[in-house]
């Protein structure tokens, strides 16, 4: 499907699916359809008691979507010789636990540096599909998975970041993180289904989607359809999130330490969940 066809298909899907969220999202979500968003609470719950690190350490051979090395560390000064240590990095913006800004899949969308600060702190929703991902590495977060979450936990919180917990974070140091199939090229890991991206776009307060895998799209995606649907809506994504199994599915607050480099289409981020 060409890029134009994908976008037309997306728009058509959005129209036919408008009724889905009626009754399943917070009333405030409907109010947010107005031009001016209502001010939202910064924190999901009461004063947090502890912080969980949702960030993988990045080493030079950290697995990458394209397969090649994306971090190169060059020591410029050494303590033994110069009395201090200092390195220079060469690094792709899309390495490790990192952001996808709207600019990544648009001609002129927001860069990471342009994301509003209030979009970097949000109630965290965790959609746990570990059971089906263990059976099928190509599993996707579907609208039914969102429905199962709202049935158990109530409406999606205003201004949430919605994260996929597939269990793939456990595989980060192994071949299974990329999980290349028998054809030697197609990857197999979970991601969002495009219909889920469409549904979440209908709730304007939702700030971002996040995955514990290498891509918002599942491994075998031929067309980045989730990227092409979600990022042009002006919202951002997070890829390679760690430790989602250590936070509650509802009630934590995510703090996204996105790098503030001018014009960046993404970038390695330090991400915490405050619980």
């Amino acid at each position: 499907m060409c890029h134009h066809c994908v976008m037309e298909s997306v728009k058509a899907g959005m129209l036919s699916r408008r009724s889905f969220f009626k009754g399943t999202i917070a009333a405030a979500g409907a109010a947010a359809l107005a031009t001016t968003l209502p001010s939202r609470p910064l924190f999901a719950a009461e004063t947090p008691k502890k912080a969980e690190d949702l960030t993988h350490e990045i080493w030079e051979q950290f697995p990458t979507y394209f397969g090649g090395q994306q971090l190169f560390i060059d020591q410029k000064f050494s303590h033994a010789k110069d009395t201090f240590n200092l390195n220079e990095w060469r690094i792709s913006e899309h390495t490790g636990t990192h952001i996808d800004a709207p600019l990544h899949f648009t001609a002129d969308g927001k860069s990471v540096a342009e994301l509003p600060v209030e979009d970097l702190i949000a109630p965290l929703v965790v959609i746990d599909i570990r059971a089906k991902a263990a059976e099928n590495p190509d599993a996707q977060v579907t609208p039914d998975d969102i429905k199962a979450w709202t049935s158990a936990n109530g409406d999606l919180p205003e201004g949430a970041v919605v994260a996929l917990l597939s269990g793939w974070g456990d595989h980060v140091a192994t071949e299974k993180f990329r999980n290349v199939g028998d054809d030697g090229k197609t990857m197999h890991f979970p991601g969002f289904h495009v219909e889920t991206a469409q549904l979440l776009i209908e709730q304007p307060s939702i700030k971002a989607i996040a995955v514990d895998t290498l891509s918002l799209d599942h491994g075998p995606s031929p067309d980045f359809i989730v990227h092409n649907t979600w990022l042009p809506s002006g919202r951002y994504g997070i890829e390679g999130v760690a430790n989602l199994d250590k936070v509650p599915v509802k009630g934590a607050t995510i703090v996204v330490g996105a790098p503030k480099i001018k014009g960046a289409t993404g970038g390695p981020a330090r991400i915490f969940a405050l619980v």
Copy 2:
């Protein structure tokens, strides 16, 4: 003064100054002298209401300590040609609003990635020396400045990050950020006085010191004495902090999104104050 002499001077100074903090630091600070630190509250105050961005945007000509360019952006994919944008950065670890890890000035201290998460979230103390910095660009935070803060605000909070507000953040896009003098090489901007670093080291719970200038040491420092005193104590520093004039001198919580790159001696960080 050679490195060894500096350290000997520091140790001597610490012994003679032990009495300073009696009565000026929280009682819990004394308890923290025990091997096991007591658990500390994550937040300075009640549930935060808003976030302030303490991070400067980094552009390629962002002013640097050494004077040369430290960020180079290379576009690898473009939306027009490839349907997505992606850049690669070449960047020094010590660029923009960034961390100094203990490893920066030690042979084998903690890297940024090894800093405990609980050290990256802390009560924020702002020491405002804007008045004297406006008179003298080489001004330093002295023990008297700390005393003035505690007289007005009570004991330093347990586990605080202590930040210098000199007003230098306003100069980031101008020559005055480096402020090179008539000799064509010596810089003139505020920093911490080594005796202040020594005093804060005596309160083991203090997690970091931060400056709104290019260096923990003030501009004319010939020997990085504050770096050589503070970082070997196992604590970290933050340089180039923005917007400290927009947060209260007491009561905010700093969240330090330090990059988690293996072996890093520092790195550009996204930093928030939750108020």
